[in-house]
């Protein structure tokens, strides 16, 4: 029983990063690096808080979060795909916008000091596990299957490797990338919603606290393979959980070592293993159709 509780706690910490990272891996496979992930998560977390606290229904809150993530990802996608604005520039702007908007609105809607908002929790579907935790692994497997076993999945990966070839095979690179961005945005929204509803049960200014960036890093760490990305996100959850356990037991190792570990490991993997063949070749590059 204790083991199950531990697993549920681990997943509660790991799920937001994990969900966002799985969406981001699809987006990156199509050649789009979503620096605005952090902002999309934060906006979605706020939307979930707003809807959750008003309706008391966690599912409506998650739906609102999903939609907000999707809409902002599509707006960002319009800038990068259609107007060919640099992906880093636009992502940075979205992050700032989200941080400013949610912090300001939170104080306006929930009062100056930001009194504690309590949100309806997700119901448990299996022992201590809620639906989000149960669906994580199937989601990772499903994405793997889509990317490796289906024609659109193959085309999507092609858009991230050699877009011109995909275009000449009759696919629209812009369409494929727009689809990938939409999927990534919807998952970023769910991740932010889950963070507010299930992980924290409340909202706080800048509550994502870098988790969107962590998710981007975990995609790299997981070598762009959904299952590995899921594993890497579990490591982040474990690092977050261990620091609480260690703080309680006052072990000699500073807990910052554990907190820094996922990032140092991700960097080490990149440095020593190299990028290998799994990094999409056209990642971050805009695609302009040949006229």
């Amino acid at each position: 029983m204790a083991a199950l509780e531990f697993a549920a706690n681990l997943l509660r910490y790991a799920a937001p990063v994990s969900i966002a990272a799985l969406g981001e891996s699809v987006s990156q496979k199509s050649g789009v690096i979503n620096i605005g992930l952090e902002g999309q998560m934060l906006l979605a977390a706020f939307a979930a808080t707003l809807v959750g606290s008003r309706t008391g229904n966690p599912w409506l809150a998650l739906l609102a979060a999903l939609l907000v993530g999707l809409v902002f990802a599509m707006i960002q996608g319009f800038f990068t795909l259609r107007l060919l604005v640099d992906q880093v520039v636009i992502g940075t702007a979205v992050n700032l916008f989200a941080l400013g908007l949610t912090s300001t609105l939170f104080r306006v809607v929930f009062g100056q000091s930001g009194q504690l908002v309590s949100l309806p929790d997700l119901p448990k579907v299996f022992g201590p596990f809620d639906l989000g935790m149960v669906l994580l692994l199937p989601l990772a497997i499903g994405i793997t299957w889509f990317l490796t076993r289906t024609k659109p999945g193959l085309a999507l990966r092609g858009a991230g490797e050699y877009p011109a070839a995909v275009e000449s095979a009759g696919y629209s690179v812009m369409g494929l990338r727009a689809g990938a961005i939409a999927f990534g945005g919807a998952l970023a929204g769910l991740a932010g919603g889950y963070l507010a509803i299930a992980s924290a049960g409340s909202f706080a200014e800048n509550m994502t606290a870098g988790r969107g960036f962590v998710a981007i890093a975990m995609v790299t760490f997981g070598r762009w393979k959904p299952i590995w990305v899921f594993g890497a996100s579990l490591l982040v959850g474990a690092a977050e959980l261990t620091q609480f356990l260690l703080q309680a037991q006052a072990v000699g190792i500073p807990h910052q070592v554990f907190r820094a570990m996922p990032y140092v490991l991700a960097l080490a993997v990149l440095v020593f293993v190299g990028k290998g063949t799994s990094v999409p070749m056209a990642l971050g590059l805009p695609y302009r159709r040949e006229k």
Partner: protein, 354 residues
């Protein structure tokens, strides 16, 4: 005239995005503008705050200018800012017992700058020699920097009583000079002005700057002309990190006097839009940094009278960046489409076909 027009357009856009954002949040626009003006420019307290807030924005913004001009998308300004302050706090702890205050002050600034520079140069080196993109590595290194600081302020650099997670407060003699003890204005606000001059000379007068911009515009052409592309990119990152580190150090030794985990209040991230809105030009960055310093100081006053706080400045910045990257391209697209239509109507077979 050719140069004046875009500057006017940007200035007008910056004011417009301020007014529109205030309006969108349902604020009384003239009254809010009055509060912002009073808070930043109304008296010497406001002016001091505005200059002090601009200082890290301009310095780190200049850092972004150098890196981005070289094609290095440094988004690790926040981590480099923290590492700078950490370097300063480290050397302060060593030197305070043994060296006179002015020496300690200068040592803090130097070591802080070097810490930031080395931290960023490491990310540059990772890209050049190991192919790890700066965009990814600087994200990772930001977290590493935060954790290193978190560890240091609870470990070797913690204050003498070992109660608070922060470093020992610097003695007044070591801090930057205060012109007026009632305001927060310190002599460190001169550094952005000096840095603008230095970066301008480096980028537009020196040969190294010419090479840097050349590599940034076209890496392959740089390689073809046998420029040491990698070395230039690493040195651009070092410049960038040095300026961000200096920003963190000056806030440490000028304003706060101690280092805590909340030292970097997003200045490193905010530097990116400041540099972008400054047209990635040193003088433009100075102006846009001053403008946002004024807005931060003014919105602190706005927060006293309305539920709206300084976070509204983030929205204003984001809206400004989005409109400046979007409008020219949207307009371009619109011109293209309408002219294509006209051509099609005129029945030109060549232009009408995609």
């Amino acid at each position: 005239m050719k140069k004046v027009f875009p500057i006017l357009a940007i200035a007008l856009g910056l004011v417009l995005s301020l007014v529109l954002t205030l309006f969108a949040f349902g604020l009384d626009v003239p009254r809010s503008l009055g509060l912002i003006f009073d808070g930043a420019l109304g008296n010497r307290f406001g002016l001091a705050t505005a200059l002090v807030r601009s200082t890290p924005l301009v310095l780190a913004g200049l850092g972004m200018v150098v890196a981005w001009r070289a094609g290095m998308f440094n988004i690790g300004g926040e981590g480099q800012y923290m590492m700078g302050a950490l370097g300063g706090a480290w050397i302060a702890q060593i030197l305070i017992p043994i060296a006179p205050a002015p020496v300690v002050n200068i040592a803090i600034l130097l070591v802080g700058t070097v810490f930031g520079a080395l931290f960023a140069a490491f990310a540059g080196w990772l890209q050049v020699s190991r192919g790890v993109q700066v965009v990814i590595s600087t994200i990772l290194l930001n977290f590493v920097a935060f954790e290193v600081v978190n560890w240091a302020i609870r470990g070797p650099l913690q204050e003498a009583k070992r109660q608070l997670p922060q470093t020992q407060s610097l003695p007044d003699a070591v801090m930057m000079m205060r012109f007026d003890p009632q305001t927060s204005l310190h002599s460190g606000v001169i550094f952005p002005l000096i840095a603008v001059g230095v970066v301008w000379v480096f980028l537009f007068v020196s040969k190294a700057g010419l090479k840097l911009r050349f590599v940034g515009d076209n890496q392959d052409a740089g390689k073809a002309n046998q420029l040491p592309t990698g070395r230039i990119q690493i040195s651009a990152m070092a410049w960038s990190g040095g300026l961000c580190g200096l920003a963190g150090t000056i806030d440490y030794v000028g304003l706060v006097g101690h280092l805590g985990s909340g030292h970097a209040q997003n200045w490193g991230f905010l530097a990116i839009p400041v540099a972008l809105l400054g047209g990635l030009h040193p003088v433009g960055t100075l102006l846009s940094g001053l403008y946002f310093g004024v807005l931060f100081a003014g919105s602190e006053n706005l927060a006293r009278f309305t539920p709206i706080g300084t976070t509204i400045v983030y929205v204003i910045q984001a809206v400004a960046v989005l409109s400046f990257v979007a409008f020219p391209r949207l307009a371009g697209e619109w011109v293209k489409r309408t002219s294509a239509k006209k051509v099609a109507l005129a029945g030109s077979p060549r232009e009408g076909v995609e």
